[in-house]
């Protein structure tokens, strides 16, 4: 694949290295002269100097033939603009944007720039994962595949405590994928019996959360979405 990465900071540079290792064709575009010179020592012709929000810079990098554009600069407006132009003017198949300020996520959504990745949001979700309250926590939203992975803590009064996995009437479009119990994770078999204190991971179609919450019973406070 030919991938353009915009921004050669820690994220962009390391991303480029990984992609090159996987034998993709990569061009990184960096607008800061000093950073460009540093990165160029390692990446050589795979990095290009310029402001990627200028159309001619993108064209010089061959955006017309790019399969993917990943905008990981430190500026949300730049990331939004680059992805919008990539997708709508140059018809790039896939764009991925970094969201620096989580409060700007709504603007990425408004302009239909997906997927957008916010490091802060990911860390917040991991925090919630580490310290789960009762209720349902979003671990991962796979927007293109239209799937979510959620986690629930089973309280003592949960409707499924003491039941076997195979006896559960999981709502259609959902699947139990793992259980974390006493610090260890495992994939449950049909005879696994659910216990209070289990953290249950499920993959589901969007919109099925309420059905799942209803099945797994009152678990205490509801946080709502972790995302």
């Amino acid at each position: 694949m030919y991938i353009i990465v915009v921004g050669a900071g820690k994220v962009g540079w390391n991303l480029a290295r990984e992609l090159l290792d996987k034998e993709h064709e990569v061009t990184v575009i960096e607008s800061n002269r000093r950073r460009y010179l540093t990165v160029e020592q390692e990446l050589e012709h795979n990095v290009s100097y310029g402001d990627a929000s200028e159309l001619w810079v993108l064209e010089r990098a061959g955006i017309q033939r790019a399969d993917m554009v990943i905008a990981v600069t430190g500026d949300d407006e730049d990331n939004m603009l680059i992805c919008q132009v990539a997708r709508e003017k140059y018809l790039v198949n896939r764009v991925i944007a970094r969201v620096n300020n989580p409060r700007n996520r709504q603007h990425f959504d408004l302009l239909d720039i997906r997927p957008s990745v916010s490091a802060t949001d990911l860390i917040l979700r991991l925090l919630e994962h580490e310290v789960p309250e009762y209720g349902l926590v979003h671990l991962l939203d796979l927007q293109e595949e239209q799937l979510e992975i959620i986690e629930m803590l089973l309280g003592r009064d949960s409707g499924v405590t003491g039941r076997r996995v195979s006896d559960l009437e999981m709502p259609e479009g959902s699947l139990l994928i793992s259980i974390l119990r006493s610090g260890k994770g495992f994939v449950p078999g049909p005879d696994t019996v659910l216990e209070a204190g289990d953290e249950v991971l499920a993959v589901l179609d969007p919109g099925k959360e309420d059905d799942l919450k209803a099945l797994f019973g009152p678990g205490g406070n509801e946080i709502g979405n972790g995302g």
Binding site: E54, L55, D76, E77, M80, V85, K89
Partner: protein, 138 residues
Amino acid sequence: MLREGHEVSCLDEDPESHARLEVGLEKGWEDLGGHFTVGAGLETEALIAAGVEQADAFIASTDGDNTNIIIAQIAQRCYKVPTVIARVLDPLRAEWYQRQGLHTVCPTRVAIDMLENAVRDGAERGGDPEPGDSAEAA
């Protein structure tokens, strides 16, 4: 626009820019019916505080092209402001977004046209070199 009787609300991150609004005005900005909010165009609370939900027209004129292009689209799509204009210095981006349905004003384009005309006029007026005649000083 304030003098014409319109209600004008300005949003800027720099509280000191308020002073610039009052240059040449007989009275204070607010006394003449103007509003001023401190905040960034990407911040929903700031936009709402500045009155975007009631606005008939929205002008995005920060010093960043990308910011102007993005917040103008937010005004259009999210708040459905009827008239939205973005100042975009880069002629290429200005032209493309204009074609996509965003009204852009490109000072660079205007300056290029005016400068070109000034050079042509100077050349037409004749050969006598006068002090200050154009010598690619642009």
